[in-house]
Homo-oligomer: 447 residues x 2
């Protein structure tokens, strides 16, 4: 019998590992176990499915189980891995349909178990669910169609904001609650204020610095609102978007190491240290932060895709290394694009890095060009070495992807003095004569 | 009497020099001579003014003569500098309104004379004019309003394409003629083919490999079409967009050096070599190409702005250096964004650089997201050192500005192997899980 690669988790990281291993080794046995009924689905697309912008849930599935099977990958959906025995190279697997347990052997293993939602441990929370899966999104869509005029979203990060906007799109009155004094804590407060303006401009009521204490239920056990430290909010629909944590239980019980970030420790080859032939990738692992020079846990499909590829290539004799992350992220919320990379001013402060921050307000296009609108760029640079360490953008459509240019500058170790002279593209429909990146760098260099 | 800085040319380069000099030295006398009646106008905006997208010509003026005067700059519009005497530090200036010549002294000089259109020397060409100024654009607008159903544009570069699209916008039947076998020779032929598809999709008839031999005139001396090597084309409107050359006559007559590119030679401080206190900037100068490692002449507002700033800062005791260009450019034509940076495959070939080219077709957004559309990315990398040397993008709205990320990669000397792991931003409304830049770099790294 040939070698067998087992994969726990059938989403971005797991199926990227599977597909890359298959491409490199046509004879390898590859089996992937996935708890849900889906593979390779876009969790990032859930809010647009709830909004109705993407009506068919199938559209969120990049590659179905059958498509993976046609590629020679033995996908077992609705199969949950309960335990891993690293010494015996065996998995204990529950077939959730047949309610039957079995033992599955492996030679190599990729752990891609993703992340769990972390709803607050408050009374009534069991009557809500985070819309993180296609099934949960489908239930929320059904519930919205059955009626109700008010919704409350708990959590003001990008998923909370995207869900709030989706519910506005469904003609609901929406309140967004967060315990922090600002939305989007991945941004500095001054930039997050522009996001709040945009949300309020879409008629989302924003309640900050408020603890949610209880989900209020009606006589049938259905939500009728929430109790917060700032008073009660009536709403038929209560959506939790209070963040996630890496799903590491099975791996931890098997003896794999957990890092300081709370996620699975891996080396730059996605190897679990001390365990030959055991790899991990995606939301459940920690990733090297190139600026903080320590591992962090970030849940993003783009990292999952890259790390899964590395695990699949290396499990088949390859030699790829993951060079780390900068914390780049983008979201389009309430007609605003919101992007960040590297360190915010407050993150730099927390890491005791002495920085100078500069913010410019400029236009997305030539000022006279139809559709031109405002955008803000904030740059964070080292006070001594003048290197760019972080950037944040909030602005109208087309503003946000400029974060990629700034992320590339950080990656390359450029100073703001150098960045201001970069040869970036100009034409009136897409930028001013100096791109906002250059305007911001010039302002930062002058400081 | 204090020091006096004279500037020849009141557009991007000249007025950027003036404004920066003024900021640094409040006591300096600054005089700027401009042939036309305008300062600081956006030549790049002319096609949108012709199209009617930007209706008021004043909107194309970033800063009027009076605004510059309020900033302490003595702007003389409709004044043409006829001669420069570098030994006596004097200009001979023609007041075009009063038809009077005078002599103007200077201590330092900035030459920012821009570029001339180069219409072909064919019979009848005097009945046409290139729409390069606000006055010429106004005449063309008037002529269109007076009637006519057909227009022909000579020249298939980005200005010719923008003008063709502008005339389609005015409900004219438009033919675009170029002597080359492809449009947009700044792109490789395979990428230019997508541009031709887009133009033809907008009902622009494209005639390639055709020499224009004569502008046909009616009895009143007005154009009635053109004669080409491919036959006659009837059209009431004939627009020349056959390129420009640096306007160096006055500077050359004064003894300033012309480089191999045909433009004024300057060092990296925008100094005219051998002439203390004489600076030049913008379309009339040559700029260091960072990859070709030789000077080139490129007419772009973004370079003019930067170089003018350097001249103005250095003329007032500063020390800024222009680090060169990559040949980055972008245009939005016929619902397509077209961008390029670095070397095309054919430019690399001409420079005897051994390269590998890779093209990917991908989506501007997550494939399932409303508005997602196709885009092509072509990368050109060194065969041996695997460094990125050039990139071209043709695609739907939002595709093009990704060229900035690729230009930054080239600037930093990155290999395609490194680029594929960059931490770029992902969210369904703005990209696939791997940005097209990463998809293209991954494909190039595999080659």
């Amino acid at each position: 019998m040939g070698q067998r690669l087992a994969i726990i988790g059938g989403d971005a990281a797991g199926m990227s590992a599977a597909a890359n291993a298959r491409r490199r080794d046509p004879d390898l046995g590859i089996v992937a176990f996935e708890r849900s009924g889906y593979t390779s689905f876009s969790a990032c697309g859930i809010p647009y499915h709830v909004a109705g912008l993407v009506d068919e849930s199938d559209d969120l599935i990049a590659r179905s189980p059958d498509q993976h099977r046609a590629n020679g990958i033995d996908v077992r959906i609705r199969h949950e891995v309960l335990a891993v025995d690293l010494a015996r190279r065996e998995l204990t697997v529950l077939d959730r349909n047949a309610r039957r347990e079995s033992t599955e052997p492996f030679d190599q293993l990729v752990v891609a178990t993703g992340a769990h939602a972390t709803p607050p441990p408050i009374p009534g929370v069991e009557a809500t669910e985070p819309a993180r899966t296609i099934d949960a999104a489908g239930r929320l869509r059904g519930q919205i169609l059955r009626g109700g005029a008010d919704a409350v979203v708990i959590g003001g990060g990008y998923i909370g904001l995207e869900m709030a906007e989706a519910l506005v799109h469904r003609n609901l009155r929406v309140t967004l609650v967060d315990r922090e004094p600002q939305l989007m804590t991945t941004l500095d407060a001054d930039m997050a204020a522009h996001v709040q303006d945009a949300a309020e401009g879409q008629d989302i009521r924003v309640v900050l610095s408020a603890q949610v204490e209880e989900v209020l239920l009606d006589g049938d056990g259905r939500p009728r609102g929430v109790r917060t430290s700032d008073g009660d909010i009536a709403a038929e629909h209560v959506v939790m978007a209070t963040g996630v944590r890496p799903a590491t239980e099975v791996a931890e019980a098997a003896g794999l190491e957990i890092g300081e970030s709370g996620a699975l420790r891996v080396d730059d080859h996605q190897r679990c240290p001390g365990h030959d032939g055991v790899w991990a990738a995606g939301d459940c692992v920690e990733s090297w932060h190139r600026l903080l020079e320590r591992p962090v846990n970030l849940q993003l499909g783009t990292h999952a895709n890259k790390q899964g590829r590395i695990a699949g290539v290396n499990a088949t004799g390859g030699d790829l290394a993951f060079p780390g992350v900068l914390g780049t992220a983008i979201s389009r919320i309430c007609h605003r694009e919101i992007a960040r990379t590297g360190l915010s001013e407050s993150e730099a402060e927390a890491a005791a890095i002495d920085v100078v921050a500069t913010t410019v307000k400029t236009d997305t296009r030539a000022a006279y060009f139809p559709g031109s609108a405002s955008m803000w760029v904030k740059l964070v640079a080292g006070r001594e070495d003048r290197r760019l360490l972080g950037a944040q953008i909030v602005g109208s459509q087309t503003a946000g992807k400029r974060i990629d240019t700034l992320a590339t500058c950080i990656w390359a170790g450029m100073t703001v003095d150098e960045i201001q002279w970069l040869d970036l593209a100009y034409a009136p429909p897409v930028s001013g004569v100096l791109d906002p990146v250059l305007v911001a760098a010039r302002a930062a260099a002058k400081r």
